[in-house]
Each structure stands twice: as C-alpha cells, then as structure tokens.
Symmetry: C2
Subunit: 113 residues, 2 copies
C-alpha cells in the first residue's frame, strides 16, 4: 500500500516535471524572474515551441506566473509562484545527483540519452 | 558560472532520469530486486518495449544490475547497484513533491501530461 502510494506520487511528480527540460527551466527561474529571451539564451538547445509548452504547463499547474508589462515593446516576464518555490528541493537533489554522475571516474558507465 | 554549472548538472540528471517512467521504476527497485514480470505488474501503463529500454539505460549507466539465473524456466532479476542506491534521495524528493501536488485543495490548478 505504502508502495503504491509512493509509486503514484512519484508518477504525479514526473508527469509534471519529467520532461527533459522542465526542471532545467525551473532551475533558471529559481534565480529570479526571466524573460522568454533570457530563457532561450540559458537553454539554447530547447526549441521555441517546446519552451512555450513547458512554460505553459508550469503556469497551468500554478507553479509559474506570466506577467505582461504594457511597455513598448511589450515585456513578458516569467516568475515562479510561491507554490513554484516548492520545486527548489527537487532541483537541488537533481543538481547534486548530476554533479555526482559527472564526477564519476573515467571508465565508469556513461549516461546515454 | 555557478548557474551554468547548476544548470548542466540538472540537465545531466534529467537526461538519465527524466523519462516519464524511469524514477517510478527506480522507486519500485528501491524496495528490492524485481523480475521483469513484477515490474510489468507494478507499472501496467508502461509498454514492454519501453520498460526494456528504461532498464537497459539504467544498466548501461551502472545503476542497475541484471542477473540471469540458470533455472528452468530462466529467471532474470533486476537490482539496483550500490551506485543506484544514490537515486534514493531523488525518488524521495519526487515522492514528497507528488504528495504535495495531490494534496492541494480542489480548485487548484491541475497537472496535465
């Protein structure tokens, strides 16, 4: 039972955060609000369409707020909500695991996509 | 610079663990060794082919060991390696975040795939 509960909670998290880029995106937003162009620069490998979809999914989940400033040209800013800040420990643990993966001595099995 | 390092470590983790099912799979293996059929039962929504690919990716990364017992019929068991145990805190944080997501009061934004 515990196992089932554990399992489906992990699944719920991964449904939202399991995409290749979402937690990376969140890691940049944890530093403060960003514009779309900032995020494009931070993550040049992600397509514009995918970035848009990922931002929208986080916004729909209430973890991110999109603010449009009526300047000329219009400025659009993305910031984590208070709920979104709850992803900080998730990003931290992924960062630590990634550092460990990369620090393994040569000859260790390699990560494939 | 810190940001770049943080970013690419998160990316390294997500490259390995970011699929929809991999951390869920790991969460079951953290309970002990499993046979392929056990995992199929634990995760009925994943296809046989995808489960095979996910197991192989974790094996190639040195986080999982596949053992073939020469019984009749042959028994194949999957177990986390010592390195694989390092994914425990990752699963824990995802489980906690998932529990929080599911416990949000009704009317809160919903998670979409």
């Amino acid at each position: 039972m515990k196992n089932t509960l554990t399992g489906c909670s992990v699944e719920e998290s991964m449904r939202l955060l399991g995409g290749r880029w979402r937690l990376l995106l969140v890691s940049y937003l944890l530093d403060g609000p960003k514009r779309f162009s900032d995020l494009r620069r931070d993550m040049p490998a992600i397509s514009q369409r995918m970035l848009t979809l990922d931002l929208r999914a986080l916004e729909d989940a209430g973890l991110l707020r999109r603010t449009v400033y009526p300047t000329s040209p219009i400025k659009v800013e993305y910031a984590l909500t208070e709920d979104g800040e709850r992803m900080r420990p998730v990003v931290e643990v992924m960062r630590e695991f990634g550092l460990w993966l990369k620090a393994r001595p040569p000859g260790q099995p390699k990560v494939k996509a």
